[in-house]
Symmetry: C2
């Protein structure tokens, strides 16, 4: 029997919901609410309370013994579970509109952009959202000096694999691929591919269903 390459992590849907739990809980924090029930959270997220209970059990949140979840402690538990308590150092490659949007995105917890790279001499030497844009030809050299954990790819698809080959030789942990192309990485590097059209496909199916 063929061995599946991508071993299942299990709980992927739960993990994808974690960031929404975080922002929901932070909104309670802003309102100085210290304890919330699974029903409260569920109502705010349009899901069922049992989903909240099951999901949160993954992160071992502190509870006020059968009276609700402690807001601050649950935020900490989720943050730790995702490894976001120690922000991961990241670089971004390709400072177009999407790249710039990600560099300035306020919503990422646990990710800190250290530098961006581009080929365009007009961009090199500038900063975007306070992050310096460096010459792509210095990529290797930079990675040997600085410990970088995540590389975010927002350059044109055609250049993706050649950059990935450079990244693969350095000591990074993960690649987050926003390009429209499949890339090949060594198995020790974690890979996440974002496909914006997948969301559009889902929306299109919903439209069809509404009619």
């Amino acid at each position: 029997m063929m061995e599946t390459e991508t071993k299942r992590l299990g709980k992927t849907p739960s993990i994808r919901r974690m960031s929404l739990y975080l922002s929901t809980l932070k909104s309670y924090q802003a309102k100085k609410i210290e304890i919330v029930t699974s029903a409260d959270i569920a109502a705010d997220m349009d899901i069922l309370p049992i989903v909240v209970k099951k999901d949160l059990q993954l992160v071992h949140p502190p509870t006020k013994k059968r009276a609700g979840y402690l807001v601050n402690g649950t935020i900490k538990a989720i943050t730790t579970f995702l490894g976001w308590n120690k922000p991961k150092s990241a670089i971004l490659i390709g400072v177009g509109h999407l790249g710039s949007a990600l560099l300035g995105y306020r919503g990422f917890s646990g990710l800190t952009f250290v530098a961006a790279f581009d080929t365009d001499v007009k961009k090199i030497g500038t900063t975007i959202h306070h992050i310096p844009v460096l010459n792509i030809s210095n990529l290797s050299h930079f990675l040997k000096k600085r410990k970088i954990e995540i590389a975010v790819l927002t350059m044109p698809s055609e250049q993706a694999q050649s950059i990935v080959d450079i990244l693969s030789q350095e000591n990074i942990l993960a690649i987050w691929n926003f390009t429209q192309t499949k890339i090949h990485v060594p198995s020790h590097i974690a890979l996440q591919r974002e496909d914006l059209s997948a969301g559009l496909a889902e929306l299109s199916a919903k439209i069809k269903n509404n009619q």
Copy 2:
């Protein structure tokens, strides 16, 4: 028993894969390959052949009687299944970096941006990727004149609900929400929320698993 509001569509994972089938098939088209097997497609997408067969059965692709799928016809079948044969007219609200990136994104099939809206007088009157940027105060008026099917939200979260309230009064089919806030829409409007941090959460879990 409480009624679940978001009725299950079923097959959501399959639907989210459709756009990848499309781009994979288009790469065969570019190479003038006319017939491919589920094994070919599976190899190129890093999934199992049975997944390809099951997914494609949803769209009723033309097959060369047990010898493979006809590339052109299968592209057409998927496109039709998603309703992408008649491109949907769309507007985008909030021409920041993310908005600009989406306006210029080459990867969307079946979506045509007709106009963008912003509050910034420096942007109003210009075009981005050939799409005119209009004054947000003309939104209602514009929607009464032009048949728009999808509204894409890329403005700051704080403004989201007030814009949604305007949109809800007009005759649109769907809202694609890229903001970080939950919005309330009437049930006849399809809603898709994109959460960029969900992908980061997934990637973080993969990193943890690799260690």
